[in-house]
């Protein structure tokens, strides 16, 4: 639950549909509300629409111009303490990771992501 008692909403951004749907299903099963986006542009639309997003989980290479690094920076600019989880088949770029973020190398076990989301507890963990 979020600090106001409502269900935490997680945005899952991944351009591969099957891994995205799989992760989304497992997060839903863990009690989260989940929005899905297949591109960085679609994810930004969630932000621009003012939709409530409590946690961002994003792949890095999303097929379009907007990368996961860009997304995290834009979400952080709008919500300074939003927890960010990166997933990628590429090594992490420590210069681009936003502070307090978590990086998972693919393939990602959904259970690990769920555990990480639970660990946030509504606040951004220290790096």
């Amino acid at each position: 639950m979020a600090s106001d008692g409502s269900i935490i909403t997680i945005l899952v951004v991944e351009d591969e549909p099957l891994p995205r749907m799989d992760l989304a299903e497992q997060l839903i099963a863990a009690g989260y509300e989940v929005c899905e986006a297949s591109s960085g542009e679609e994810a930004l639309a969630h932000l621009q629409n003012g939709q409530r997003i409590d946690v961002l989980i994003t792949d890095i290479q999303l097929g379009g111009r907007v990368t996961g690094w860009d997304l995290a920076e834009k979400f952080r600019a709008a919500h300074a303490r939003i927890p960010v989880v990166y997933t990628s088949g590429k090594p992490p770029d420590h210069d681009r990771k936003v502070s307090g973020s978590v990086f998972f190398s693919k393939p990602v076990r959904a259970i690990d992501v769920v555990r990480t989301c639970r660990s946030f507890g509504g606040a951004v963990p220290d790096r």
Binding site: E16, L18, P19, D22, S38, G89, K90, K106, P107
Partner: protein
């Protein structure tokens, strides 16, 4: 040894760059000054080109072949004027001077060419090495993404099967579809692929079958990012038709056609059952999900999938603007 050459290549300026030209001029000037210093130290004229041969090797290596050839011409003019009798003139004293000048011109050009080509080979090797590393990184990235897809398929299949043999059969068939998509992608080097090739690859296990008719349309392509999705969807449709539909041993037919309309490509799977007593399959489940997500629900694409007592229709539409077949 190659490692040392790689290190050398990394510290050398790019031939033709201001740094390379400046370095070439500096080396040439140093060679001329050294010649004068040697003459002064020896109290006599040293051989005219004594310092220019090593200088040409350096110039060619640092600044490239063309800079070195200019150096040959400059050394020739300088030495001829100052260090060949009669000094301070371009007159030629005799055949010895003439042969000496000609020998330097030829050997200097050869040195420039050989060392210059070596430099080019060094640069090419370094560029290939950078490209090889990039491809390796990209391949690992794709493999990891593919493993993620396989992992997701396994999870989905395991939730919808009740025995290991059922899981094994369904998982293996979807892996085969994914593998066929990889064949197409490797062939096109992960670029847009011709729809004809995707269909041939995805439906190869189901053909020849007189009930499955592929009517070739125009030579249109599918963006690389949709190749796996459409391959999985086609495989799913064909598997279902074999197990429950028109490709089973009951009268029926499947036609697969594609066409281009304006800026849209479309692919239509039309399955007609003549056995109307057979109940329609449940229009849900992982197979349906695969079909409906063939284009990842991207903007500008459309998938219409319908199962009725009379048959199955699946229509796929995608924008053609990024077409770039190999």
């Amino acid at each position: 040894m190659v490692r040392y050459f790689d290190r050398l290549q990394r510290v050398l300026p790019r031939p033709g760059s201001p740094a390379a030209i400046a370095a070439g001029v500096a080396v040439f000037g140093s060679a001329a000054l050294l010649k004068m210093a040697l003459d002064a130290a020896a109290g006599d004229n040293m051989p005219p080109f004594i310092t220019f041969y090593p200088a040409l090797v350096l110039i060619s290596l640092i600044s490239g072949m063309w800079a070195s050839l200019i150096g040959v011409a400059a050394a020739l003019v300088l030495s001829w004027y100052f260090w060949f009798p009669p000094y301070g003139s371009f007159d030629i004293a005799g055949p010895v001077s003439l042969s000496s000048l000609i020998t330097f011109a030829i050997s200097g050009a050869l040195v420039s060419a050989i060392v210059g080509v070596t430099r080019e080979l060094l640069d090419e090797h370094a560029a290939h090495e950078v490209e090889r590393r990039r491809i390796t990184r990209e391949t690992v990235h794709r493999i990891k993404n593919l493993i993620s897809v396989v992992q997701a398929i396994s999870t989905k299949v395991s939730r919808q099967t009740s025995s290991f043999s059922e899981y094994n059969a369904k998982f293996a068939s979807r892996l085969a579809a994914l593998a066929s998509a990889q064949d197409v992608l490797v062939k096109t080097e992960w670029e847009d692929a011709r729809i004809r090739e995707i269909i041939e690859s995805a439906l190869a296990p189901f053909r020849p079958n007189p009930a499955l008719v592929v009517r070739a349309g125009p030579d249109i392509v599918l963006p690389a990012r949709y190749v796996s999705g459409v391959s999985l969807a086609l495989y799913e449709l064909a598997t279902n038709a074999m197990k429950y539909g028109a490709l089973l041993a009951r009268p029926g037919s499947v036609s697969l056609t594609w066409q281009a309309t304006g800026n849209l490509g479309s692919l239509v799977w039309k399955e007609v059952h003549t056995d109307a007593t057979r109940p329609a399959r449940e229009n849900a489940g992982f197979g349906t999900l695969l079909i409906q997500n063939a284009f990842n629900r991207d903007a500008g694409t459309r998938v219409h999938y319908e199962v009725t007592d009379a048959g199955v229709t699946a229509e796929f539409e995608w924008p053609l603007e990024a077409a770039n077949p190999r």
